[in-house]
Amino acid sequence: MTKRVVEHATCLGCGCACDDIAVVVDGDRIAEARNTCALGRAWFADGSVPRETRSGGKTVAPDVALADAAKLLGRAERPLVYLAPDISCETQRAAVAIADRLGALLDSPTGEIAAGILASQRRGRAAATLGEIRQRADLVVFWGVDPADRYPRYASRYAVDPAGLQAPDGRNSRRVVAVDVGPSRGAADADERVAIAPEDEIDALALMRAVVLGRGIGDGTVARVATGLATQMMRARYVALVHDAEPSQRGSPLPLPLHPDSGEALIALAQALNGPARCALSSLRAGGNRSGADAVATWQTGFPFAVDFAPGYPCYRPHAGAAVLLARGEIDVALLVGSPAGVPQGVAATLAHVTTIVIGPRASAAPFRPKVAIDTGVAGIHEGGTAFRMDDLALPLRPALSGPSVAADVVRALAARLTKGRS
């Protein structure tokens, strides 16, 4: 069989959503995904996915699985619809429609970064698309994050290395500062390293903002560090302040929860820097179209996550989302759309205790033994449509392989069954 190449494919291995991937297909397998990083290679892999449709532990016809799913959801008293990773916006839109119809709680992994989202709702944002950072930034400050770990091409494709309009010499046009917040290290490739103890992080950010606003801040150790950093940032033309919005270092032995106030302090600092300089806060997000889940929820409901349709309209329950209601035992049936493997620990652990229906890539391999499992393709590998980059930019997906069922079609078919059973 001859090989074929799908050019300009978008990788959803992380939130960078690099769209310059050339996927080489040999038969029904991916032989190579060119231009990818290690994460991207692992995400594409050979493109093989299970193709099962199961109900009650048995292989069944798709119609039977859908009928069973509709019956379970129709009887549910407190259903949850959860938007897991690796589905397109088209699938997400169809899944939110089901939540609306059922009066369900709607949530997604965005619930894991609730503190940061709530901070941005109180204060707003000073942000930029990734390409704008490439064009403008003359100072890049990595705040407790080395993008090489979870966002491998962030530096080479966007923020640091490439030449831009106002950074004609790429890396040499920029100064890179790594701020190590305890064990959360800044970028390895830095012109300067600054260490801040985790317990001093919020103080340091507040003091930096005070310096930017022209207030005196005393001369303690933290104040000296803060003054040094803030002064550099004020002298820059365009600062990219980069932090990891995701909650913990994957693969690290100790999960390092974000300080709940760090998001707000970073936003406030970035906003204040617009005045003396220009500044954008770049919030790194994981892949699988997680950003799409909160964009879609926002345009359909007005709220980015933890949306409760129980009253007959969307209500925002940022402190009573999926993890909380599952832990309290309030949810009886969960419809999970997307990759079960991408569901955060806190949610996944409790899903074993409720009736679950999973529609998504590798649904049949879900560790929490779903009642109904319908395997679909992975958005971006087997399915087309739209996905969002971490900076809220919508990109097209170019599937290289044909998959099992198409997630959006399955979810729409389920929605149709629920509509018919309505009256």
């Binding site: 704008e132 064009q135 980015p304 007959g312 509509t419």
Partner: protein
């Protein structure tokens, strides 16, 4: 009620936009297969409109309802959404999937469609979309039912265009504009603060005048305006270039607005939210109305059109690609602020706001909008908008219509506002004009459709789209226009007896101007050099149809 045929019988028809015309004449309006037809058999289904007012469906020439910036705004306003829940409407078709949502100044997509239709509007233009983010805007419009919608593509701060201007490549700039419109699936070209957003992103200060240098002295706001106005005219686009001038919201900005109009003299051009650009006085010192000077220029120049961008008292969300303006508003108000710089193209700024009638500047802005309306000689060229949600929600249009139609009511309202700055305005001197129903029909549907070049909209002539709104003829015009009795969209009865009953999918309005394909080779090189999205992934819609 079938889509196929309907006779709207016995209503008073206000149809200034059709060749036949009608100014309150009692006559039937006949619909077949989504179009207006001359006659129907006697046994065709009938909708009794006796005692009611019949107009074409409303057409909003400038609104912000879908896309990346709008969604950033939505995300910023959870408390507004919580305060304005919108349960799913009870639709007639059992297979229809009605959707709940939330409102506030930036409603959710489904609620936006339902509310526009409930207001008797059947077409709306999303007025500011970065071409790079057009895919997002289309996805939201796909979830915005009923209304036909188009988007305006933001140009004028985009690096590729500025390069062509710097190099004197007029033809290439035109080809590029045509390609962008096609790639974005857009309907018109929108310029926002030409050159100013680019300067703000580059770390400099906003531009203040038409001849400020943008990067290089060869590129100025004036050159950007001329280049794009000429391109639009050469491409024979249905809508002229849609311009948000420099210096929005600044005291004394009327001088810039007039200079912009003079710079484009003889060229077709549409000046949007003119109210925000009609201020006298001096920056940082004093405010006064310059509505009279601005509107007299508009009156005297038939190639110029405008929408007003009326400010209405109450909550608003200021949301614009004019990011430096929002920075200033945040700095002066201390309110929440979103800024998003958009690579190689434009900016985005958002600040929630409230216009209070006891605030001097808000009262002046309110008065200036009304002056523009009341001093405009030609309603076909000065049309209704609030720049939703910037000057107020589209839901405030009925109140605005009452202000225009009812002098007694207007004068009462005027007494209640802060008098400090309105004292010297022509409004305070007493403007007696009252808009007629026919003039309202012009500024809310016939003229916007004509200015947009939508030949089948805004009127009820034979062959027109069967978008029809039927109002109870209530002397309280705010009440009349806020709750139409019936609304028909594309021949489908969507609002029946004041209730939303059907929610068909709206159409997307777009243009496909031709261009020399050589421009795409140059663009590909430029994308490879600077862009962070593949050239092949940039178009939001299929090209080459």
């Amino acid at each position: 009620m079938s889509k196929a045929r309907l006779r709207i019988a016995g209503g008073a028809v206000y149809d200034p936009g059709s060749a036949e015309g009608a100014d309150g004449a009692i006559r039937d309006v006949c619909i077949e297969d989504g179009r207006i037809v001359a006659e129907l058999p006697r046994d065709a289904p009938k909708l009794d409109a006796r005692g009611m007012v019949v107009m074409a469906g409303g057409v909003d020439i400038h609104s912000h309802i879908a896309g990346s910036s709008v969604n950033h705004g939505r995300r910023l306003l959870p408390e507004e959404h919580a305060a304005d829940p919108a349960p799913a409407p009870p639709l007639a078709d059992p297979d229809a999937v009605p959707r709940s949502g939330t409102g506030g100044t930036i409603p959710t997509t489904f609620t936006t469609g339902y509310r526009y239709a409930g207001l008797g509007y059947t077409t709306a233009m999303e007025a500011a979309v970065a071409p790079l983010a057009a895919r997002h805007a289309h996805a939201e419009l796909d979830d915005t039912p009923i209304i036909d919608a188009g988007l305006f593509a933001l140009l004028g701060n985009d690096d590729y265009l500025l390069r062509q201007i710097a190099a004197g490549e007029v033809a290439r700039a035109r080809d590029y504009a045509a390609w962008v419109l096609s790639a974005a699936g857009a309907y018109a070209i929108k310029i926002v603060n030409p050159g100013g957003v680019e300067r703000w992103k580059a770390g400099g200060r906003n531009v203040t005048g038409l001849d400020d240098a943008v990067g290089t002295g060869a590129v100025t706001p004036r050159r950007i305006l001329e280049t794009l106005a000429d391109a639009v005219n050469a491409l024979e686009l249905p809508h002229p270039v849609h311009i948000h001038c420099n210096n929005l919201g600044q005291a004394g900005n009327a001088a810039t607005t007039l200079e912009t109009m003079r710079a484009l003299a003889g060229r077709r051009a549409h000046f949007t939210h003119l109210q925000f650009h009609s201020y006298g006085g001096e920056r940082g010192k004093s405010w006064k109305s310059a509505a009279k000077e601005v509107i007299e220029h508009v009156n005297a120049h038939p190639e110029v059109s405008a929408d007003v961008g009326q400010v209405m008292f109450g909550p608003a969300t200021t949301l614009t690609a004019d990011a430096p303006v929002e920075y200033l508003l945040h700095a002066s108000s201390g309110k929440r602020w979103v800024n998003v710089d958009i690579e190689l193209e434009t900016g985005c700024g958002i600040v929630p706001y409230s216009y209070r009638e006891k605030a001097a500047v808000a009262a002046l802005q309110w008065a200036i909008g009304l002056e523009l309306f009341l001093l405009a000689k030609d309603p076909w060229r000065v049309v209704l908008s609030t720049d939703h949600p910037n000057g107020g929600s589209f839901l405030s249009y009925p109140e605005l219509i009452r202000l225009l139609m009812d002098r007694g009511y207007r004068d009462e309202r005027l007494k209640q506002v802060n008098q400090k700055l309105v004292a010297g305005s022509t409004l305070a001197d007493g403007l007696a004009r009252e808009y007629t129903l026919s003039e309202i029909a012009i500024v809310t549907r016939a003229a916007p459709a004509r200015l947009l070049g939508l030949k089948d909209k805004g009127h009820l002539g034979v062959g027109a789209d069967a978008d029809v709104t039927i109002y109870a003829n209530d002397p309280d015009r705010a009440k009349m226009f806020s709750t139409p009795r019936h609304v028909i969209k594309g021949g489908v009865l969507v609002v029946e007896e004041g209730q939303l009953r059907r929610a068909p999918t709206g159409r997307r309005l777009r243009v496909r101007p031709g261009y020399d394909p050589a421009v795409t080779r140059d663009l590909k090189r430029w994308f490879d050099g600077y862009a962070c999205v593949s050239f092949e992934n940039y178009p939001a819609v299929e090209l080459g149809e």
